[in-house]
Amino acid sequence: MVMAATGRVTRIETNDGADDQVTFTGNRALMLEEPLLFERGSVDRCGVDLQPVPPVTGNLGALLRSDPIGLPGLSEPETVRHYTRLSRQNYAIDMGIFPLGSCTMKHNPRLNEKMARLPGFADIHPLQPQASVQGALQLIDTLADWLMKLTGMPAVAMSPKAGAHGELCGMLAIRAALEARGDDRRVVLVPESAHGTNPATAVFCGFTVENIPANARGRVDLDALLARLGADVAAVMITNPNTCGLFEPDMVTICDAVHGAGGFVYCDGANFNAIVGRVRPGDLGIDAMHINLHKTFSTPHGGGGPGSGPVVFSAALAPFAPLPFVRKTRTGFELVEEMQARESQDFDRSFGRMVAFHGQMGMFVRALAYMMSHGADGLRQVAEDAVLNANYILASLKDVFTAPFAETGPCMHEALFSDDFLHDTGLTTLDLAKAMIDEGFHPMTMYFPLVVHGAMLVEPTETESKASLDQLIGALRSLAGRMGDDPAAFKGAPYLAPRRRLDETAAARKPVLNWKDVAAA
């Protein structure tokens, strides 16, 4: 691949794998090959100019680094080009529908990016004296107020860094509350449809996990749940709307029963976007719920993060919420850190600090800009359009794909399909996904949730137009048709992407995780 930079003759991958056409560069017009930074750059190239180092004698002596570090540099033009070329090998929401179920890939307004870059937010230090950051504390307090009102919960912890971190926050609070009453129950019940972070989190703070099956309607099996409740059950972690894209109709019953049995209800709020403005989770009786600002409130996913996972709490858990937090005072806003907490009555039971500073300020600004733009009315419309779009997909595809729970009524924000319709083709959900890539779409979520076979979870979100949905539907119906005719073609897909199907097994068998100069080695 080093060669690609200087030009090894490589074949064009035509869509049928034939090699009747050649480019010298390996490029395909605007689809450009880009070597690794380590192949392009060198340790003596540099893309910055810095002030000269003043001539003073340092004090590091023998601690000075002498070994070559091996960090290649590039001039600014080469750097911009390297990353621009790489970026063009990505699919993104800015390019088309990104129907990853459970991930809520919705439009990311550019206003939010602009606001997050205001120096007043982006260029302030977490440890500046509080008098110098009153506007920042006000912003956090304002966002907290929105979150509490939207969820109907009395308290919120802002510091969790993402959804899974929020789960940790919620489960730690439950652990602290149990401890406070000298109760050491350890079992956490998790529906089998739950996201992997739920069981992982429970274990992370010392709980033991037991699965609760789903019923034939794709909801939590109420009887099984009630049967399992008892003195050893600390909490139930339940996702609502659940990961099948369905609302849990027995939520209130479940909460009452769990409380009755002395446990707590943690709600995974990753799907809050389906009900925001239409239902306040607090009205269902839950004790804690994280909110993925990077899903429901549209802060960008950035290819994997960062996110932000504030957690709302019931009155029962509020006293155990983490530090620090923002409090309104007569004179302004106060960031309550350790010391003050110790002094104050109501927060002396906090389970403590779960991150170095105060959370994802950059995401707070974006989320608040999004909320203010939509307003209470717009956010309600968000949920309605998200649900409408998902049901439109479900209704338009359920005759060609298998829709296991379609008979139980409408879905919420995502439509779930299983792979039964593929049985006699010899093809898998994955083959369909790869064929969608050639059609110019990002595939839906595959093989999750685990409750149906070969799951395909489609979440269009409210920011897709009808035309966009119609194109996806048309393409999927066409693919469904063609899968019967020419299965072989699907096994080879994708043909037109920057890369053909990649060998993930080989990658895991002998992991190469760090560039080694093959030439040198």
Binding site: L63, L71, M95, A356, F357, M363, H374
Partner: protein, 456 residues
């Protein structure tokens, strides 16, 4: 509403296709009692972009920004100049609005960036492998302690007194309900502090110890040779975890890997990322190859496609929650991908040459300021061997003095009183950070402010 493409006509057409009378029909599963019949009270209605912009700008205007004042605040977050091209690149829609690269054929951009990022972090820390990022330095450190436990099957973590107190607090929170044992100590505001601390650790590390956690430069800015400590750890079968909160230091200071670290975690904010009032930041996590299967977080690896072309994929996912669920090495899912991209772009612009230059510049400027302040009566230099941050002992409590400096438009550092609330022995300590952004005029302003504040 400007973000919603559906028109009323679209909505009714779609409802017809669905066969639903109205939108409420789609929410039929919601219990009557919980249904809201209109917008939630007490919140404003939708607002034009211009007005949202004005309201937020007004809040922003109430904050004193680092770039506009003499600024010496550090302790785990640093004000460095980030080239404009970094921000341009991370705003490319293809990076900004993509998801975790689960479909590698159309995510090679993100994947190659992660592979390059991992390779940069491994070199910087002197380790063999690095992951694709954690939330921040503090959570990365906690994950390292848990990883050490999995590797050594031992429960006791010994934490240096020089580790950032917030990091220690996070570790304590996360181990509060597990049977992990965390031994730590308070730092002392005396010269050569880390020495004593290391002596204590070397003496105490034993067969029950899973790891020793040490920060370099430490919270006071002290830089230390960790080799003896590494030897002691390895002799006892424990892992040495080194925390780096100012990665720029690695351009000048010997790498943790070279000193014998087994796991290196760090806060990567300094490179490519702004202060952002504490987040989003970038957790760095690197270790020896032999422990890779115990690592938390995502890993990107090299492979080939059906035509034999090199490509990249997420790999070793069997460590992760979405595959392994309760048996996962960590519960982390969303990480700090875009911050890692910013780090990688800035590091590419710097290259080895630029990084060393930047590090030398930071060190030299800090040395210059330390010398100037050392001459001021009532200020005693505590840290003698440092990178770009040092601690001084004042003749009186530091926290109120800082507030006075702030009133004069100078952000003078971080008081130990804020980091160690209630610790009388530390309340006169002030930690001062100096980067390439601080000018001579800023130095003068700091000195003048010290003069102006009466009798501290």
């Amino acid at each position: 509403m400007r973000y919603l493409p559906l028109t009323p006509a679209d909505r009714s057409a779609m409802l017809r296709v669905i066969g639903a009378s109205d939108i409420d029909a789609l929410f039929a599963d919601v219990p009557e009692a919980a249904r809201l019949d209109g917008p939630i009270a007490g919140l404003p209605m939708h607002s034009p972009e211009m007005l949202v912009e004005r309201e937020l700008a007004a809040m922003a205007a109430k904050n004193l920004t680092a770039g506009t004042v003499p600024f010496f605040v550090g302790c785990g977050a640093y004000k460095h100049h980030v080239p404009a091209s970094v921000d341009h690149i991370i705003q490319r829609g293809e990076f900004l609005t993509s998801y975790t690269p689960y479909q590698p054929e159309i995510a090679q951009g993100t994947l190659q960036v992660l592979f390059e990022f991992q390779s940069q972090v491994a070199r910087l820390t002197g380790m063999e492998v690095a992951n694709a990022s954690m939330y921040d330095g503090s959570t990365a450190m906690t994950e390292a302690v848990f990883m050490a436990r999995r590797v050594t099957r031992r429960a006791k973590a010994m934490v240096s007194a020089g580790v950032h107190p917030h990091y220690v607090a996070v570790l304590k929170t996360l181990t509060r309900f597990t049977d992990d044992v965390v031994e730590t100590a308070l730092p002392e505001l005396t010269d050569g502090a880390p020495g004593d601390d290391l002596v204590r650790l070397i003496a105490a590390v034993d067969g029950d110890t899973s790891c020793v956690v040490v920060q370099n430069p430490n919270i006071f800015g002290h830089v230390t040779d960790l080799t003896p400590l590494a030897d002691a750890c390895h002799a006892a079968g424990a892992l040495l975890i080194v925390v780096v909160t100012e990665v720029v230091s690695l351009g000048l200071v010997r790498s943790p890997g070279e000193m014998g670290a087994d796991i290196v975690v760090g806060e990567g904010q300094s490179i490519g990322n702004g202060l952002n009032f504490g987040g989003p930041y970038l957790g760095l996590f690197a270790c020896r190859e032999k422990h890779v299967r115990q690592m938390p977080g995502r890993l990107c690896g090299e492979t080939v496609d059906a035509d034999g072309k090199r490509g990249f994929v997420l790999t070793l996912s069997t460590r992760e929650q979405h595959i392994r669920r309760e048996k996962a090495t960590s519960n982390i899912c969303t990480n700090s991908g875009l911050c890692a991209l910013a780090f990688s772009v800035h590091m590419t612009l710097l290259g080895e040459k630029g990084l060393r230059h930047l590090a030398e510049l930071n060190h030299a400027r800090a040395v210059q300021l330390a010398e100037r302040l050392g001459r001021i009566p009532g200020i005693e230099l505590v840290t003698k061997t440092f990178f770009n941050e040092f601690t001084v002992r004042l003749k009186s409590e530091a926290r109120p003095l800082l507030r006075e400096l702030t009133k004069r438009g100078v952000l003078g550092g971080v008081s130990l009183g804020r980091l160690y609330p209630g610790e009388r022995s530390l309340e006169r300590g002030l930690i001062i950070a100096v980067t390439e952004c601080a000018t001579d005029a800023d130095f003068d302003a700091l000195e003048d402010a010290f003069d102006e504040v009466p009798g501290w």
